[in-house]
Amino acid sequence: MRTSRKLAVVAAVAVVFWAGLAVQLSRADDFRAYHRTVVQVAQGAHDAAQTAKLTAQIKAGHRATAAFTQAAFDDAAKALAGAQKQFAGQAPPGERGARLRDRLAPLLARETTAFGDVLRAGDDAALRAGARELDDVARQLNDFITGVLTGGN
């Protein structure tokens, strides 16, 4: 009996913990949650841009195998797609949220274009140009993140 009671207590604690976690994670209807999402999306997009930039530089310098650059581009593409999915999956809760969205959306669109250009670049010059563009996008995303985090939205 003692064991089963102990088990019941453990199970109850686990359920309460899990429920708390679920509530915590699903409570996404206010501005702060949206703000957090926007920052995460911008960070994800920023990391993807930096990764793609570094990979483009590596490829332009012929410093790695095609298999490696392909895999690295794929990883960056996956990260960008994940950020975009997260971005699309949440509607801005109000006017302030919509303003945040409207500032981030063009950056993501620019990144998507630049990424695509890098992927289909035929020569090293095009790769380098794409890398510069990605670098610029990454810089702007970083500025955006810093601005949003320091409250200047």
């Binding site: 990764t51 570094l54 530089q57 790695a64």
Partner: protein, 410 residues
């Protein structure tokens, strides 16, 4: 010559055991996000694994029995069973993560997706554990894992800024844009990656397979005090290169291709080849160790015959457990969970399970019944107790930090 080979056991556990997918991921991630502000955690972790691996090596060399074999006598069958369940769970999760890491390394080398590699790797792993000679496995993967030295070379090539790195190391804490919650979350993950439980199971069981006696105590200590810090140095090189390349770009790392990038940027294709070879050897070696460790712990709890030195048909139960854990590891990956994410979760679970492994070792290492006058001295006990407090604190804090930082996402 025999001495030389038994020191190789230490090198294997240092490279294949110290640097495994957990260390690769934890060091590269913290390096990118926090610079080397976690350098002290790695140092603390390395000293911790040295303290406890020395104890378990001594217990095994003197008593002729692996540590886990003795745990049941001291904890009783129920507590030891709970302990076994926790340890096996973490070990099998780790095995899954290592298999994923091998798959990812092969993907980077061949551009064939990692999920296609996983079953192939699993079969090769099983065949190696089924037939290959222990000392061969040990030497091949121990020596190949040394390819990770490429990250030390890459670090020197990248022209790092020593002043800035020193600044980061000397001022532990979150840099701008991070908070203390994520800082401690990653500290725990890094600490757990250095102290992964399977290392001590494998270390002491491997010592039994090599038939160590009290005369091998010196070898055991050389293995621990030379081998583990060497592994720690390679792990630190991963953190350093990541801090040099990614931290200034304010980016985080979440794929194996990114971890390899500093070596590529510094040394080109040669750097890439060495990095991938090193990843492969470290993760495959660790997959062997975790697979064996799962079998060791279960067999030692029940008193079954175990070990690679026996014919499989004379240790059918042991080999069944090894086979089963490989199948379970593959099954985990076949859920298509990202291996890097799986590694992150595994590190947190293993942080929670750390006291299960290390408390019994401290108890057994103080037992005159097994060790006679070779029980822990004052230094070993003082360090052991300090570490136990740290381990318990990390275990208690792991899950709350995981929830509040959303796996370190902030």
């Amino acid at each position: 010559m025999k001495r030389f080979f038994s020191v190789a056991l230490g090198i294997l556990t240092a490279i294949g055991g110290f640097v495994d997918i957990g260390d690769i991921v934890a060091n590269a991630e913290t390096g990118a996000r926090f610079g080397i502000a976690h350098a002290w955690v790695l140092l603390v972790g390395v000293v911790g694994i040295c303290v406890y691996a020395e104890m378990s090596g001594r217990v095994t060399a003197v008593s002729g029995r692996p540590v886990f074999d003795l745990v049941r006598e001291r904890l009783g069958p129920r507590m030891a069973l709970a302990n076994l369940a926790g340890s096996v769970l973490v070990t099998v999760l780790t095995l899954g993560a290592e298999l994923g890491g091998v798959g990812l390394a092969l993907q980077l080398a061949t551009s064939v997706g990692y999920l296609l590699w996983v079953p192939v790797v699993a079969v090769v792993l099983w065949a190696a554990l089924w037939r290959a000679k222990f000392s061969v496995l040990e030497n091949v993967f121990g020596l190949t894992g040394l390819a990770l030295i490429v990250f030390v070379v890459a670090f020197l090539h990248l022209g790092p800024d020593p002043g800035q790195l020193w600044q980061q190391a000397a001022h532990p804490g979150p840099p701008q844009g991070e908070d203390w919650g994520t800082y401690w979350f990653f500290a725990i993950a890094l600490f757990a990656s250095a102290l992964t439980p399977y290392e001590v199971f494998f270390f002491s069981s491997g010592a039994v397979e090599e038939r160590w006696t009290a005369r091998d105590l010196i070898t055991s200590r050389i293995n621990v005090f030379v081998g583990f810090p060497l592994g720690g140095l390679l792990a630190f090189a991963l953190m350093l290169t990541s801090a040099t390349v990614f931290h200034p770009l304010a980016m985080s790392v979440d794929s194996l291709s990114q971890v390899a990038m500093p070596a590529v940027l510094a040394l080109g294709e040669l750097g890439l080849a060495a990095a991938l070879l090193g990843f492969f050897a470290a993760t495959f070696g660790a997959a062997m160790e975790t697979g064996l460790s799962a079998g060791y712990t279960v067999a030692q709890y029940f008193g079954w015959s175990w070990g690679k030195l026996r014919r499989p048909r004379e240790a059918a139960r042991f080999h069944t457990v090894v086979l089963g854990s490989i199948v379970a590891g593959v099954a985990i990956l076949m859920t298509t969970i990202d291996p890097i994410q799986l590694t992150e979760y595994t590190l947190i679970f293993s942080a929670v399970a750390l006291p299960l492994t290390y408390l019994p070792i401290l108890v057994v290492a103080n037992d005159r019944g097994y060790l006679g006058n070779r029980v822990n001295g004052r230094t070993a006990n003082a360090l052991g107790i300090i570490y136990l407090i740290v381990i318990v604190a990390a275990a208690v804090a792991a899950v709350p930090l995981m929830a509040t930082t959303r796996m370190g996402a902030g």
